[in-house]
Point group: C2
Chain length 361, copies 2
């Protein structure tokens, strides 16, 4: 069949033009007689690819010069563990805001390393909202305050950067990085697994304010030490070169499309289209998230009659709408509509949803 | 230009048929309307790819059932650190055999975690040989004995599995896994970054005897815990799916070509061809490694006149022989001739070397 609209939460859809270029360069990159996946990470060819990717990401996200950028393996979960090892003293308090599933996993990873304190949580209301920053209970000597900007499973999002007076703010932006302009100078560190909004699985981006690298942290192997990775320019060991290369193609595509301002507009229109279809379905579909906290990236929704779920999934798949099944934690449906999901894809989804509701309503 | 013979030490050359398949499936995998790099790691499509890759690797390497297989991110260097965290008590002695550069890095990674003892080293003689197992000084209560089966930079290799009576043997097989039959039951654990002999960069294979997983190890985050990775079937977090997929294509290619027995024959012929050309050059080329320890995978060699290095590299590149420059630690030249390097590639290299020597000798 032809390519479909793929609503997977991550690994997620990629721009077709990026995949076409990766395909065309698979056997030979830039006339050198070998694929980029076959070339040394320390050779001039990949060094050029790596430098270009970092420069493009810095331009795309307006990353200030006093922030280091890392491209590492291991995913956001590894970053969650290493943040504590690198930036907190053993057993030091660290504040965690829990607005969904991933905020909880972040705490689980640091349990051996810090005194993780829940500064706020919306678990009592089923993560249908985000705890307002004004209600966060911050610890004066906390190493940092960690929150999840967008919760991929629960579909809630902080749209404003929280104020943590004097504290070091760390944000997990795995599922919303580059979806709209962001003032990075407000953060000590942001991180993101690339497989949602930056493109390919297998590489993780960290953006670290350089003064954090002066913290001693905890005893750790060199390969778990962000200072060493910064010194080594993300090549302390062999990095996931192909994934870094593909991320670079996605960064270039985002710049060519108009940058994060343009994606903010598109993402706003896509989210409005889908939430309007849900809210205007006279109860056939339902999203339980408080309006102001609704994620623009991940839209969980439920059919009023769960017995229709299997039919909805089978028919949507047949209609060229892939991976709408909700995460097992929540059930129901979920549509992930990252930067690479075209507006036509969301339009096709809402057209299908309306048709399905009409036929089964 | 056309594809060349690529002697890179890793990331390294891949079978052309594997790259062609990756190219053909880049926009759409198996008729599902999306690339494998865009699909959820927990969906039926990738689960099938992952299971097939493990089954093929088990067949290829004759992995006994009481060994778990992991496909993880982070490279062999991360594995070096995590081995100590997972399988040694804090500060417990662990024996390390150092036969080259990577044996040294292995020790560096575990410095915060164990009492690393050098059981043997060949550094005094410039790593021109491997310390014979009969000379290893083993610690009775060591957590394990670690050695590097093949040293990628220094070009030395253990061809026999060392006997460590009653001890737990751990082998870094990054640059020689699957190059010949291996009795895995002799090991507690072997590991390998895939970017040399298993194909693609970005995924690391660990083969762990399951009883090791009962060891308590040291306090560590769940994401650094191999027990959790085994329970989670390498999907504790999002794995590097595309890299895993590509590794699977390489496993299948190796099986189709005749398995490790056939590659052992080919690798023997390739290494003999190249070492004979060096030894038969009347001193124009030189390899300093003791004959019995010469690596079949990585062949460092030197021109008698180092002033000719630049010409050698320029002319060999023009002749379609890529990446022959030696590692910066040693200088000179290095030809990496892993499984995916065809015999025709090594023949082309020795033809060039003889011609170059004739013209400049």
């Amino acid at each position: 069949m032809a390519r479909v609209f793929n609503f997977s939460a991550g690994p997620a859809t990629l721009p077709q033009s990026v995949l076409e270029r990766a395909r065309d360069e698979m056997l030979e990159w830039n006339g050198v007689g070998a694929s980029i996946v076959e070339l040394s990470h320390r050779g001039p060819e990949f060094m050029e690819v790596a430098a270009r990717a970092e420069a493009d990401l810095r331009a795309l996200l307006s990353i200030p010069d006093d922030y280091a950028v890392l491209f590492l393996a291991g995913g956001a979960t590894t970053a969650q563990a290493l943040i504590a090892l690198n930036f907190a003293q053993p057993g030091q308090p660290a504040d965690y805001v829990v607005s969904g599933h991933w905020g909880k996993t972040a705490i689980k990873q640091v349990a051996p390393y810090v005194d993780a304190r829940i500064a706020a949580t919306s678990e009592d209301n089923g993560f249908h909202d985000v705890p307002p920053p004004s209600t966060w209970t911050l610890t004066p000597d906390a190493a940092y305050v960690h929150y999840t900007a967008n919760e991929t499973i629960h579909g809630v999002e902080y749209r404003e950067v929280p104020r943590v007076d004097g504290g070091t703010l760390i944000g997990d932006f795995s599922s919303s990085i580059a979806s709209e302009p962001l003032d990075i100078s407000r953060f000590g560190l942001i991180y993101a697994g690339a497989q949602k909004n930056l493109g390919p699985v297998g590489v993780t981006v960290l953006i670290i304010r350089r003064d954090l690298l002066e913290r001693e942290g905890q005893p750790r192997a060199e390969i778990l030490d962000y200072r060493a990775h910064v010194r080594g320019e993300s090549m302390l060991n062999t990095p996931p070169t192909w994934n870094w290369y593909l991320a670079g193609l996605v960064f270039r595509w985002m710049l060519d499309e108009g940058g994060v301002e343009e994606f903010a507009r598109r993402n706003g229109r896509k989210a409005a289209l889908l939430y309007d279809a849900i809210d205007g379905s006279s109860g056939f579909y339902r999203n339980d998230v408080a309006a102001a906290a609704r994620s623009r990236m991940n839209v969980p929704f439920f059919l009023h009659d769960e017995a229709l779920n299997a039919e909805f999934l089978a028919e949507s798949k047949a209609a060229g709408l892939l991976a709408l099944k909700g995460h097992r934690v929540l059930g129901g449906m979920r549509a992930s509509i990252y930067n690479a999901m075209p507006e036509a894809g969301v339009q096709a989804l809402v057209d299908f949803m309306r048709d399905f509701a009409r036929r089964r309503g």
